[in-house]
Each structure stands twice: as C-alpha cells, then as structure tokens.
Amino acid sequence: MVIDWGLGIENLPILLRGAKITIQFTVVSVFLGSILGLFFALGRMSRIPILKYFCVGYIDFFRGTPLLVQILLIYVGVPHLFGFTMPDNYQYIAGYIALSLNCAAYTAEIFRSGIQSIDPGQMEAARSLGMTQYQAMRYIILPQAFKVVVPPLGNEFIAMLKDSSLLAFIAIEDLLYSGKIIVGRTFQPMPIYLTVALIYLFMTMALSLLVNYTERRLGKSD
C-alpha cells in the first residue's frame, strides 16, 4: 500500500478539532488542579495530623499510580462501586475529574517546595508584626512562592497536555482519538500519527515559550 502523505493535511480540520478538546481538558485540569493542589500543599504542611496524613496519602497515591489506571478507576470503577449507570457523556466528567485530581497531586508538591524555598525569616518577620498565619501566607509567603513555582508549574502544564492523550482510551475525541479514527478509516497510520505528533509538538513548544516569557517578566519586578 502506498503511503499517502497528503492525508495529514487533508484531515487537519478534524485533527485540530481534536486538538481543541485536548487544550480544553488540559487548561481546565491544570486550573482546577492548581487550586486543589495549593490546598493539598497547605494541608500537607499543616500541624493537624489527620489533615496532614490525608494529604500525604492523596499525593502519594496519585503520583505513584499510572494516570490511565486513575482514569479507569473513576470512569468505570466509581459508577460500579456506587451502582449508578453511567449517564451519557460521563466520560467527559470522568476525564476532567481524573486529570484534575492527578494534576492536583503534582502541583501540590510544586507549591510545597515553592513555599518551603522561602526564607523562614519572612514568616518570622510577618508574624512578629502581628499578622496571623493566614495573613502571612496571603501577603508575604505565597506572592514570593508564586514566582518560584512558575517554571515547574509550566512544566506540569506541558506534561498534562501530553498525558491528556490517555483520555483517548475512554473515547474522548481529543487529538489522539481523532487521529485514531482517521487511521481506522484510511489505514494510513504514519501520515496521520505523524501529523498528530507534530500538532502536540507545536502546542508544547508554544507553551514553553509562554512559560519562558512569564518567567522573564516575573524576574524583572524584584
């Protein structure tokens, strides 16, 4: 069979529609995951043992098990456990939840190391001015930690973008899944998957440029 390289270009609209879904899932998951991750990071550093160990357990579980297994646990395992039939489009909900929960575990560790990289003297100075723990975090520690975490958070964003391709496994029409469908129709894996790969590459490179730019801008202000 002759390889038809033109198929990649021909099917670009379909693939780009898939890429849009990929971006959607990545952005939402990183956004929700970061917010959640910040709470897990603070919880992990808490002095309340139950909270602390819950957060440690959560972070270890989601970092120590494959994302695909987590997706299946939530997509298939949870409905089975609670005995409800999957509603239509449940794969989307499961996809968002799985990616966000996974991302939260990674960003929690990023936030924790960012917060712990701030000189303890900053917290002491804030507390000695009468600020509460919350105020010191809000006004002194987190604004400084935020700058530290931008590069690793950017890397997490890029990793998430690539890992979201696992959603194809539960029939979410992301970039990879769209490619698979076209391959099934045309029997031309090489041109299609190569185009898929190039679109992923384009997205990750654009992202890392954005991260570098943000990093430089943040570096200026202090």
Partner: protein, 239 residues
C-alpha cells in the same frame, strides 16, 4: 513593662535558657550581651513568642504570653528587628512599612501612608520609598526594617543583633536611628556586640552566660568593674 519569671527553654534535650528572671521598666533600654550560643538571641525571640517557651512566665504590658490567644495581640505591641533584616522582597520600602498597619491594625490606606512616610523620613530614607529592598544597602534595609516595626506603634522594640550582618561603614547609621529611638523614650531590648552603643545608650546591661543572667547592672559599672569572673573573661576577650 516586661516581666520574665523563671524562663526555661529547651530545644529537644538541649536546655538553652535555664531560668531567666528579668523586669524591664517602661522607657528602659536594656542591652543584652553574651557569647554566641549563650542563649541571648533565644531569650529575645521568646519575648514575642517566635520561640515557644518550655516553662516559666512572660508578661508584657500586663498580658501573659503563656496563652496562645494573646500571641497576636502581644506581637503587634512588640516590634522586632532581625539580624538579616527580613524585608519583604516583593514590596517597595514604603509598602514594607505600610502593610502591617493596614491588615493588622486595620488602618486606612491614607493613615498607613502618612505613618509610613513619616517613619521613612525619620529613618532618613524619604528618597528611597519606592525602591525594592534588593536595591538598598544593608544599612538602608535595616533602617526600613526599623521603620516597618515602628509603623505598628509598638510599646517595646526588640533588636536581635541589628548590626551584625552589616558592613562596618553602615553600622553607624543604624545605631544612630536606634539612639534617637532610645532618646524618645522607647522601651528597648537590644542584643548586640556593639559595646560602645551599650555603654552610651543602655540603661542596663545584662550579661547572659550559659542560659542564665550572670550579671546585670549599669553598663558603665559593669564594663569598668565586672564582678562575675565569667563576665570578666567575656569582656576581656571583646574589649
């Protein structure tokens, strides 16, 4: 103003403070000296509960520090200046000074700004209000740190070796600000190695050795005529 009764502090098994008793009167300037590791910084840090105390009692302005509920109340009345300045690097000098009055004392922005400008002027840095800390010299940073603490209108100021991290030529400008403060009647507890400052500004000299107050008294008296052999040994090394 400050009453310390039988203060003990241990880090794990290491007992750093072994029963400190001290009364500090309003407007008094107490200079604390001692060898490194003697517990003088730990003592100071106990006074605004940056360190939890192991046993004993600290009463500041009639409020006991032993209850956790009082900690934030006490801290706003007790200003602290650190060896390493600890300015907030993501804020300008003026923002460093005006933040706490706004969020802790709930002062309006306008009030906080007035206090801030007045204090920056007082420490001689009216022209540096919009600089970020990293653009300031060590001496300037420490003066901003003093202004920051004063902005809370504290009743007591604690100084933890405020000139130890400074280049020699900048020590004078910081001591000058502290001298003015003492002259205005601020109650001060100063841990320092600046014996000239201790002699000139201090109302009382406290020599801490091995976790206890080994000797205290009028600075000139103690310098000229130390009674405790350990004080004699210490002074002979540094004077």
């Amino acid at each position: 103003m400050i009453k310390v009764k039988n203060l003990h502090k241990s880090f794990g098994r290491l007992e750093v403070l072994k029963g400190i008793n001290i009364h500090i009167k309003e407007q008094e300037v107490v200079v604390v000296i001692g060898a490194s590791g003697s517990g003088k910084s730990t003592f100071l840090r106990c006074l605004n509960k940056l360190e939890d105390i192991t046993s004993g009692e600290i009463i500041i302005d009639g409020i006991s520090l032993n209850s956790d509920a009082n900690v934030n109340l006490i801290r706003r009345e007790v200003g602290m200046v650190f060896q390493r300045f600890n300015l907030f690097p993501h804020m300008t000098a003026l923002e460093n000074v005006t933040l706490a009055p706004q969020i802790v004392r709930k002062a309006s922005k306008k009030e906080a700004l007035e206090i801030g400008l007045e204090l920056m002027n007082k420490v001689g840095l009216a022209d540096k209000i919009n600089e970020y800390p990293r653009r300031l010299s060590g001496g300037q940073q420490q003066r901003v740190a003093i202004a920051r603490a004063l902005a809370m209108k504290p009743k007591v100021m604690l100084f933890d070796e405020p000139t130890s991290a400074l280049d020699p030529e900048m020590v004078g400008e910081v001591l000058a600000v502290m001298r003015d403060l003492a002259r205005e009647g601020m109650t001060m507890v100063v841990v320092t190695h600046e014996m000239g400052f201790a002699r000139e500004v201090g109302d009382r000299l406290v020599f801490i050795d091995d976790g206890v107050v080994a000797e205290e008294g009028d600075p000139v008296e103690v310098f000229n005529n130390p009674k405790n052999p350990r004080t004699q040994a210490f002074l002979s090394k540094i004077l």
